[in-house]
Amino acid sequence: MSGTATTRRATPFSYAVIVALALLSLGPILVMIATSLKTKPDIFSGSFSLIFMPTLENYRAVLGDSQNARYLTNSLIVATISTGLTLVFGCMAAYAIVRFRFFGRDVVSGGTLLMRMVPPAVLTVPVFMIWTYEFGLSNSLSGVILVYTAINLPFVIWILQSFIAQVPPALEEAARIDGANDFQVFFLVVLPMIRPGLAAAAIFTFRIAWNEFILALVLTNRFTRTMPVKVSLFINEHNIEWGQIMAIGTLIAIPPLVFTFLASRQIITGMTAGAVKG
């Protein structure tokens, strides 16, 4: 047992506190899921209750709408492709920054940190203008993919740097002596060793791309919309269909929630690496 000298024993009170906090975190999410499984009369009955006859009616309505199916597909395409591109480009760049001394290295490394902090809202106007009038990328999924890859790259480079720095250089040396070139060393020796880092980076990237709203709102039309954009339009209609909205909300929340349960350790490692190291 580590830290027995400093770590005090748990008391019933500490368990009570942590359980209360867990309920506080989960409660609002459970309210959303419960509402998505309710009929309209149940939602508006005037007393919120967790006891009701669950129905999949809202999901049937949401997924039966071909528009929604299309927007979900768009979200999936955009998030998957941009995550793939970000990871490949990002791990290569992180490797260059960690392992090589080259002209301009400090600029690249400092610039990465600065660009990581740019609020997406700041990009809406220029990206809208450039994509529409210079690149011909407006209302296309590739336009959204390009900007998502760009905003996620600094973050991925940042996270992966600390993982790459932990790979023992002796391993790379050994591979070089065996005749591997720099690219073989990277792809066959370094990449397999930073798999946990790649997993964390992939989850964070996918989450940001899947959840992103404001750039997608500005860059898409009614064919290329992603799901977060759709739901924002849906909620400002006059008669809010709460059951269906919560069904869409749950659908949007499912991939991040699943990732969290599958890989909470990697997520916390990534979060800590992002905040503490770098």
């Binding site: 770590t7 506080l24 959303m32 700041v122 990277f186 909470s264 916390i268």
Partner: protein
């Protein structure tokens, strides 16, 4: 072997090239364009070449615009409130729960759930919770015999309601980092304090907190920078209203550009927001290097 040497020197640039190309096209160029556009008047639907150069007019207009200053005030109030609340709550909870708890990893998983779901969805959830007719919060108040609260419809309450949603989502971030820092403290320091007769309270206040302060400072700065990025939750909850009571800068940029269609002015706004974030980032770099130099001495 000269050819091998040549490859070595070029290698880092090969590795960097794809990322650099994407960042140049998708980040650097747009930001330069934003600076350019802030000195022009341009309307949607016309090619950018037809934009008219207006010098500092957009900035002059901003400084004279009351809505801009209201938005600055709302942004600062929001950012400071969420950071202070999240740091105080997160650190306090970490101190209380720095114990040999069973099931810590399950609890940690639960605590990161709110951070992982889309801000848009967080907005939906809280808009439902805050609903004055059938929202669970109002119902709970009614069940307790308390009067209803105009969560989102009153200009005095709306900002607080938005802050509560952010605190719900992000306090666990500080909590998890603070707990990790506490559990990583050297046992010797705490042991020594205890032998010297320090009370539990003194140990916390004079030993533990100062030791984790650098981590907390970095985490707080990260949250502060993120607070300037917040847009979605507020867009869904209030769309900046009632009045301008929750119109933070990023939302104000969006509305200026795509609702009032004043793109030059929106660019000027964007550049100002960028400047604020830039200054905060430099502070972050400073805090980090201070911490590293301190860690190096130990």
């Amino acid at each position: 072997m000269p050819s091998r040497q040549g490859l070595n020197r070029a290698t880092p640039y090969f590795f960097l090239a794809p990322a650099a190309a994407v960042a140049l096209v998708g980040l650097v160029y747009p930001m330069l364009r934003s600076v350019w556009l802030s000195f022009h008047e341009w309307s949607i639907g016309t090619p950018p070449e037809s934009a008219r150069f207006v010098g500092l007019e957009n900035y002059r207009w901003l400084v004279a615009d009351d809505a801009f200053w209201v938005s600055v005030g709302v942004t600062l109030a929001f950012a400071l409130a969420v950071v202070v609340l999240e740091v105080v709550l997160g650190v306090a909870l970490a101190l209380v729960l720095d114990r040999d708890l069973r099931g810590t990893s399950l609890f940690r998983t639960i605590f990161i759930l709110p951070m992982m779901i889309a801000p848009i969805v967080v907005g939906l959830i809280w808009r439902f919770l805050y609903n004055e007719q059938f929202g669970p919060l109002s119902q709970a108040l009614k069940a307790l015999g308390l009067p209803g609260v105009p969560w989102l419809s009153s200009p005095d309450m709306a900002l607080l309601s938005v802050i509560i949603a952010d605190v719900w989502q992000w306090t666990p971030f500080i909590f998890i980092l603070a707990l990790a820092a506490l559990q990583g403290l050297p046992a010797s320091a705490i042991e020594a304090a205890r032998i010297d007769g320090a009370t539990r309270w003194q140990t916390t206040w004079y030993i533990k907190l100062p030791l984790i302060a650098p981590v907390i400072a970095v985490a707080a700065l990260l949250r502060l920078i993120d607070a300037f990025k917040v847009l979605e939750v507020i867009y869904i909850l209030t769309e900046g209203g009632p009045g301008l009571s929750t119109e933070i800068l990023s939302l104000h940029i969006y509305k200026t550009a795509f609702v009032s269609q004043q793109l030059g002015r929106a660019s000027a706004l964007s550049n100002l927001l960028l400047l604020i974030v830039l200054v905060l980032t430099l502070l972050l770099v400073l805090a980090r290097s201070l911490r590293e130099s301190r860690a190096g001495k130990e």
